[in-house]
């Protein structure tokens, strides 16, 4: 039973990954990545890590993929002038990828780790549940936990600065103007409206 679930989820994960790199339209790539993420969540459940599986579905397949879908819808799919790389890249790249896979497999299988051939030790029912992970995060890994929260905050601020609309005609990123906030330029009534992916950017159409 466990083997059946493993192989179904593995085929889903691999098929999703191949779909991501083979679809022409980025929108379909995002959908394939969602399939991949759900299959990985099933694999995490098989490895008795319920919290990571739930976080995978909620954070990745939920939040991050919605962000991707919005940006793909805003930027527009297609338009990839694909398959005109440096000569031979189309044939060289799969060879290099296969070489990497073989190398990684040799490194793992040749590592002489005895426990690789087992299921792992028997663990109690509470292994990997939210209580255990939360205790680890708040006791042993408190500093990385807080550092990652600061990193998330910085990433959010950085994304706003990057994606906010520039002042008209100027190429200078007006991060300073964004920080001041009390000197709106005369042509852009609201500087932050451009953050919304659905707001049509008038400058782009011009």
């Amino acid at each position: 039973m466990e083997a059946v679930v493993f192989f179904v989820a593995a085929i889903g994960a691999l098929g999703g990954a191949i779909g991501v790199i083979s679809m022409r339209n980025p929108f379909y790539s995002v959908l394939a990545l969602i399939v991949h993420l759900f299959s990985l969540a099933a694999l995490f459940l098989l490895l008795t890590s319920a919290f990571v599986a739930a976080a995978q579905v909620v954070v990745y397949a939920g939040a991050v993929m919605v962000l991707y879908v919005f940006v793909v819808a805003y930027v527009g799919g297609g338009g990839e002038s694909a398959w005109e790389p440096i000569p031979g890249q189309r044939f060289l790249a799969p060879l290099l990828a296969i070489a990497l896979f073989v190398e990684l497999s040799i490194a793992v299988l040749g590592s002489a780790l005895k426990a690789l051939e087992t299921h792992g030790p028997d663990v109690g029912a509470g292994f990997g549940n939210p209580a255990a992970i939360g205790r680890l995060l708040l006791e042993k890994f408190l500093l990385p936990f807080e550092a990652s929260s600061i990193l998330l905050l910085l990433a959010a601020v950085g994304a706003i600065v990057l994606a906010a609309r520039r002042s008209e005609g100027g190429n200078i990123p007006d991060a300073a103007g964004l920080a001041e906030g009390d000197t709106p330029s005369k042509h852009s009534p609201s500087r932050l409206e451009g953050v919304s992916p659905s707001a049509p950017a008038s400058g782009v159409k011009a």
Partner: protein, 99 residues
């Protein structure tokens, strides 16, 4: 299932992500392939944590998810900024920093 199966699957997924980065030209798809590689690393972390019988590897996987979310946010912000300046969304055309 042996842990070996999970590790081999993880390296296969990682190689797939590398292949995508080598082949595709669109920055959006390259970001998606980065996600593939990070998730392959996550799978290896969780499998090894099961092998050792210790949950600390799963904490690492959660932190990797946070890093991936940050990378996606900044990357998509860059893509939107590139699009706003009417530059081509193609990594072969965006080569100013190459020198």
């Amino acid at each position: 299932m042996n842990i070996t199966w999970y590790i081999v699957l993880s390296s296969l997924l990682f190689a797939t992500g590398v292949l995508g980065i080598l082949l595709r030209r669109s920055p959006l798809v390259i970001l998606l392939c980065l996600e593939l590689m990070l998730n392959a690393g996550n799978l290896a972390l969780v499998a090894f944590s099961r092998m050792v019988g210790n949950e600390q590897g799963q904490v690492f996987a959660v932190i990797v998810m946070v890093i991936a979310a940050c990378e996606v946010v900044v990357g998509l912000g860059l893509i939107v900024a590139i699009f706003r300046r009417r530059l081509p969304l193609n990594v072969d055309d965006l080569r100013e920093l190459r020198g």
